[in-house]
């Protein structure tokens, strides 16, 4: 299924999958700053951070047949915020590219907090919008860099007239 996470319709509420997609690409410094207050107590691990390989599948033009593109390193974890009762729904899950356990933990903490209605609005401004800005900037920079390598292909049009025919006749 092809899902454009970054092109959220303006009237659609931000779903959990949307913010998890943002968190998985967030730079660690941004997460560290925004979550500093929530990182003091050790979380209760449901699944301690673990690193493994995942097969990434692609479709040419997002419509073709599925094919295996290659394997990527992924770190995942699941945690319950400390202090939360067993039945409280503050369970955070994160899947992050790379091998950084710290980064997976940060993303999972953020995921847990974002599910809490009271914290959501605050984190939206202190965490999610900076991440969006960062990703937009990053994508703009990449686009600009790619543009510098652009090559203009053009075909020299044949001159009008009978010149061509004359050459062939000679």
């Amino acid at each position: 299924m092809f899902h454009a996470f970054d092109n959220l319709a303006p009237n659609k509420a931000l779903g959990r999958a949307d913010w998890m997609a943002l968190l998985s690409r967030a730079p660690p410094d941004l997460l560290e700053c925004a979550l500093a207050n929530h990182l003091i107590a050790a979380p209760q691990w449901l699944r301690a951070p673990e690193t493994g390989l995942m097969m990434v599948q692609g479709r040419a033009g997002a419509t073709g047949e599925r094919f295996n593109l290659g394997e990527v390193t992924v770190t995942r974890c699941a945690l319950r915020m400390s202090g939360a009762k067993l039945d409280a729904a503050l369970v955070g899950v994160a899947y992050v590219l790379g091998r950084s356990h710290r980064r997976a933990r940060l993303a999972a903490v953020a995921d847990a907090l974002l599910q809490d209605g009271a914290q959501h609005a605050l984190l939206e401004t202190t965490l999610l919008s900076p991440i969006r800005k960062h990703l937009a900037l990053q994508s703009k920079q990449r686009h600009a860099r790619a543009q510098t390598t652009k090559v203009e292909f053009f075909t020299v049009a044949r001159e009008a007239g009978d010149a061509g025919d004359d050459e062939e006749n000679q």
């Binding site: 691990w45 449901l46 699944r47 301690a48 699941a78 067993l86 039945d87 729904a89 369970v91 899950v93």
Partner: protein, 208 residues
């Protein structure tokens, strides 16, 4: 309860490797001494449904290649979510397709001969059943309900299990007769486990 609802989920072994090795060691110990009741120590936050010992045993035995069938009380319970989350096992609706089966106390187990029996060439492809029972006793005068003989038992031993199907002994005799095919059974109380590998012969104890 959906498979994606993690709100009531407990943690697995605090140390995945050592925790599952310790439980696996207990399972081996139990299988090599059929009928002996062994305490199953673990530190996993087991689900509310089903016996803790069964949950910890399956947590150690299962992995992502295994298929598991759960009896009606356990299917769609927190136990199913817990095992699926921590082991990645595949939950199946058809018990004939399962490599592992877990039957809660009070649920009727399907007949032993309906589970996967393996073949003469590949007897390892048979199912392993974990049956929750109300009580187990393997020593003392009261325990003299069954007399067990076979590999791993010096002479004979006694065992009493409460809460099994009334015709369990008949089913077991047929299961034993199918050797090398047949299922292996773990009987579990809340803390203890006793094993009945397919090699074990069970008779009603004298005086019964």
């Amino acid at each position: 309860m959906t498979p994606h609802d993690l709100s009531a989920l407990g943690a697995g072994f605090s140390n995945e490797a050592l925790g599952s090795q310790a439980v696996f060691r207990t399972a081996l110990q139990s299988m090599s001494h059929p009928g002996r009741c062994i305490n199953l120590d673990h530190d996993a936050q087991v689900p509310k449904s089903g016996h803790p010992a069964s949950a910890a045993l399956l947590l150690a035995l299962l992995d992502a290649d295994c298929t598991l069938w759960l009896s009606p009380k356990l299917a769609h319970s927190d136990a199913a979510v817990w095992l699926h989350f921590h082991t990645g096992c595949r939950l199946v609706d058809d018990f004939t397709q399962a490599q592992f089966a877990w039957v809660a106390a009070g649920d009727t187990s399907p007949a032993l001969d309906t589970f996967a029996q393996g073949t003469d060439a590949f007897p390892d492809q048979s199912a392993t059943c974990v049956l929750d029972v109300l009580a187990l006793q393997s020593s003392g005068h009261d325990a003299a309900d069954w007399t067990l003989t076979g590999p791993g038992i010096s002479g004979s031993t006694v065992l009493k299990a409460e809460g099994l199907a009334p015709d369990f002994l008949t089913q077991w005799a047929a299961n034993h007769a199918r050797f090398p095919r047949g299922v292996d059974v773990f009987l579990t109380t809340r803390q203890q486990v006793a094993s009945l590998p397919r090699t074990t012969h069970i008779e009603l104890a004298r005086g019964n």
